[in-house]
């Protein structure tokens, strides 16, 4: 049993760090780093080109009716209903959170799946899923205990949580970013990861120089092994018939500093890899 004295001992044991303050040099260093990689708005064009205002209002009204109808019949919001309002990652993941299991992204996390020890808590989550992988990276998604949506880029310590899937926005493509820029692999590749609606079957990362990196077989999520040195421009989401569904520009640096070019090795001729849904 925890006595008052024990509690006081534990509390006081941590007391010294309660007053710890960062020194001015560290603050200045952080501010200079942030200044170099400060995010600019990522959306460079309108997500919807619906033209006149009234169709949008009509669409919103229809959406409200669909949601109201669903609520009246005590049925969780289905993805079909959300899609009626325009396909968006927010809508798709809301559908999954609402119980639309058949349309969940990726594949369920298998009991036999080996996870880093610090990520074992994923198994406590509701419906943990593997939604993409590339190289040594796997992108996981799970529903938190409070019903929120969570993503984890395995092995990097990078994760994002959303109280509601609606926070993902109304676009068919959404790049997730929680600080993975620090995790360049031995080849200098940086995992660029995101989610997309089901109609997106492939994604393409374009560069200022050289060929794009294209990944097919997308099932709700993707991980692209980007090459910062080639100047990534944008990620383009494509449907099965090759039509552009959406695009998102990369207008922030993927790494703080570009790595020194590594000397060529015998095995350096392999293609850049990206990934797709599992």
């Amino acid at each position: 049993m925890l006595s008052d004295r024990d509690e006081a001992l534990f509390r006081a044991a941590f007391a010294p760090v309660r007053d710890t303050e960062p020194d001015e040099d560290l603050i200045a260093l952080v501010i200079s780093q942030v200044g170099r990689r400060k995010e600019a708005p990522k959306k460079s064009f309108p997500r919807f080109a619906l033209g006149p205002r009234w169709p949008r209002l009509a669409l919103q009204a229809l959406t409200a009716l669909a949601i109201l109808a669903a609520a009246l019949y005590s049925v969780p919001p289905t993805r079909a209903a959300i899609e009626g309002a325009g396909e968006s990652v927010g809508g798709v993941f809301t559908g999954w959170l609402g119980g639309e299991h058949a349309e969940a992204p990726g594949k369920p996390l298998e009991a036999s799946e080996k996870l880093p020890e610090y990520m074992e808590y994923l198994r406590d989550g509701k419906e943990p899923r593997v939604i993409a992988e590339a190289g040594r990276y796997k992108l996981y998604s799970y529903i938190g205990s409070s019903g929120g949506l969570n993503f984890e880029l395995g092995g990097t310590g990078v994760g994002l949580g959303y109280e509601s899937a609606a926070e993902l926005g109304d676009a068919p493509l959404h790049l997730l970013d929680g600080g993975a820029r620090h995790h360049a692999d031995a080849q200098g590749h940086v995992p660029l990861f995101g989610i997309a609606v089901p109609s997106v079957s492939s994604v393409e990362l374009t560069y200022e120089s050289g060929p794009p990196l294209r990944v097919s077989g997308v099932e709700g999520g993707f991980v692209l092994l980007a090459e910062p040195s080639r100047g990534p421009i944008e990620v383009i989401a494509l449907s099965a018939d090759g039509k552009v569904v959406d695009r998102e520009s990369i207008d922030y640096p993927l790494v703080d500093e570009l790595p020194e070019p590594s000397p060529p090795t015998e095995s350096s001729g392999h293609e850049s890899s990206g990934s797709h849904g599992p």
């Binding site: 925890l2 004295r5 024990d6 006081a8 001992l9 534990f10 509390r11 006081a12 044991a13 941590f14 007391a15 010294p16 760090v17 309660r18 710890t20 303050e21 960062p22 560290l26 603050i27 260093l29 952080v30 501010i31 780093q33 942030v34 200044g35 990689r37 400060k38 995010e39 708005p41 990522k42 880093p116 020890e117 610090y118 808590y121 406590d124 989550g125 938190g144 205990s145 969570n150 984890e152 990097t156 310590g157 990078v158 994760g159 994002l160 949580g161 959303y162 109280e163 926070e167 970013d177 929680g178 600080g179 820029r181 620090h182 922030y252 703080d256």
Partner: protein, 199 residues
Amino acid sequence: MDAERRESREIVADQVRRFRAGDGDAADPLARRALRMSLRTASALMRSREDAADVAQEVAVDVLGSLGKLRDPEAFDAWVHRITVRHAMRRLKKGRSTRKVEAPLALLDEDGLRAAIPDGDIDSRLAARQALVGAVSRLPAKQRVALALRYVHDLPDAEIAAALGCRVGTVHALLSRGRRSLREDRQLVEVTLDLKEEG
């Protein structure tokens, strides 16, 4: 206290909005806040001041660099805790520390030790410190993180759960196991029993 916290949260939220709107002056207070919070947590977990500072720096840069993703500006502190936990856990799990120190930083402070164990002479306090050091450093990383968030930041279970990305029930279990392990630590029990008898 609640009113103070509320006011503080609103001030920070305003700074977040200004930062996202391009106001460079907002970077300084946000960087200080993120650094302060993450440094305190990391100092309770890492085995050197340098490691703690490294973690805090990574966290602060990531937090400010990703503020565009934070939908609720009032959730700034929760955002910092969550990113801190991820960086700290990664570092703890990967054992990236190359600077070997015998104790978590939090337990090295003499004044803190005096506050923790006010009774007893200096030898008793030193013995108690050694016992505390050993007991805490033997705890699993996740238990240490949960205890640090509770005792450094006074976070309630729900906020610890949000930072750790687990259920509230899991937090209860982590705190309970951590406290029990400390309580049952043989060396710590012996020392604190001595102190109780002296007191």
